[in-house]
């Protein structure tokens, strides 16, 4: 068990981070904190993906004339993380812009107050 954890330390850390982020996303009442939780989840996934591509003793996948034939790490997860980062940045910016608009309209970003005020305006 312990050796498993040490063997897969990056994955375990990623899962713990993911759990923290997910709990934040679900339980925080403040919209900004929800976004931060979402970002923590993103980081956890990037970490997991990036660690998956690593090979012990491997070097960065830059193929050049080095005089010998080294072991390269897997380049595919690194490229896929890039996609994830782009999407994460876009989603974060968009949700922050939405939160700013919500604040301008209702004067609060606390979930409960927001619901109350929105309901009051509906009536």
């Amino acid at each position: 068990m312990l050796s498993d954890i040490i063997q897969n330390r990056y994955a375990v850390t990623a899962v713990i981070l993911f759990g923290i982020g997910f709990t934040n996303l679900m339980l925080q009442q403040n919209l900004l904190r929800k976004v931060i939780g979402f970002n923590i989840m993103d980081s956890a996934i990037f970490m997991l993906l990036a660690s998956l591509g690593y090979i012990d003793g491997g070097v960065a996948p830059i193929v050049g004339d080095r005089g010998f034939d080294p072991l390269y790490i897997n380049p595919i997860p690194s490229g896929l993380v890039l996609t994830g980062i782009v999407v994460s940045v876009s989603i974060t910016a968009f949700s922050l812009a939405l939160i700013q608009r919500i604040y301008r309209r209702y004067g609060t970003i606390e979930m409960r107050e927001l619901l109350d005020r929105a309901k009051k305006e509906d009536d």
Binding site: N8, F22, M26, I76, S78, A93, F94, Q100
Partner: protein, 299 residues
């Protein structure tokens, strides 16, 4: 026996009636309407409000518990999965399959880029990266829709406050920030250009270089104010550069595809560089655009 059949048919009839729903047999319309129970009386306003509030309160009481349970269960499932994952850093992991081998062995000669990651994201998976650039472009467009100031969504008071803030910032200019920015900005730009142009042979490329470029512009803008930034980056230039980057990418990658990406002739090997440059422009504009829109609501 016959009773059982009766029961079955009654059950069937009831089922048929349930499937048919409210449809009434035409000959017994009157009868059915008479037999139908009265509708519930409509709750009064206060009653309705009270119920609604009660429902909301119940929801808020139960939500944290349910959320915690979901989080714990999910973390437990993920942890058990991780325990059964193949070991970290093992060469024989299923992820190290023939695709990455192919990229590593033939990437350099097929795309003309020594950095296999760049070869992959710009060469082999160029469409994916085109999609990413479009995502960034659209993200800036969406933030613009939400935050851009114009005469319709800005009151005079807000405008006045903004002007006052800017005047205050100009009067009490941050000396340390300005001096540091004066020294650092050229080097940041230089480094950005280095990373942009060396994406083929070293770690870097369009995304990282573009981000550094954007960070340089942001530092300049934060130190020296809007006016001096707008001398070289006003709204018109901004949209021209942004659109130009995306168009350049689309056109270049289209050429890349139509000429035949696999087995490209040598004189087109420099195309990776140009595509990297296009991506860099889009990313830099995105970064600066987010900063400007969030801080001032205009570019």
């Amino acid at each position: 026996m016959s009773k059982k059949i009766d029961e079955t048919s009654g059950w069937l009839q009831r089922f048929a009636a349930w499937v048919d729903g409210d449809r009434e047999p035409p000959d017994r319309t009157l009868l059915v309407m008479e037999r139908r129970p009265h509708r519930d009386f409509r709750p009064t306003e206060e009653e309705f409000e009270r119920r609604e509030k009660d429902r909301l309160r119940k929801f808020f009481n139960w939500y944290p518990i349910a959320a915690t349970v979901i989080c714990v269960v999910m973390a437990a499932i993920l942890l058990t999965t991780v325990m059964n994952m193949p070991g970290f850093g093992d060469e024989d992991n299923p992820i190290n399959n023939e695709v990455s081998e192919r990229y590593l062995e033939h990437g350099a000669e097929e795309t003309g880029s020594e950095n296999v990651v760049t070869a992959m994201i710009i060469g082999y998976r160029g469409f994916d990266t085109l999609g990413e650039s479009c995502v960034l472009f659209l993200a800036v467009a969406a933030v613009m829709i939400l935050l851009l100031r114009d005469e319709k969504n800005t009151t005079g008071r807000e405008l006045h406050q903004l002007e006052r803030e800017e005047a205050g910032a100009r009067e009490h200019a941050d000396l340390i920030l300005q001096q540091v920015a004066k020294v650092l900005t050229p080097f940041i730009f230089l480094f950005a250009i280095y990373v942009l142009l060396n994406g083929e042979t070293s770690p870097g490329g369009g995304f990282s270089g573009g981000t550094i470029l954007g960070a340089g512009v942001i530092l300049f803008s934060a130190a020296f104010g809007v006016q001096r930034t707008q001398r070289f980056m006003n709204r018109r230039t901004y949209s021209v550069v942004r659109t130009f980057g995306l168009m350049l990418y689309a056109v270049l990658y289209g050429i890349y595809i139509f000429i035949g990406a696999n087995g490209l002739p040598n004189h087109l090997a420099g195309m990776i560089l140009l595509i990297d440059l296009a991506v860099g422009l889009v990313v830099a504009c995105t970064m600066y655009g987010f900063y400007a829109l969030f801080s001032r609501g205009e570019i």
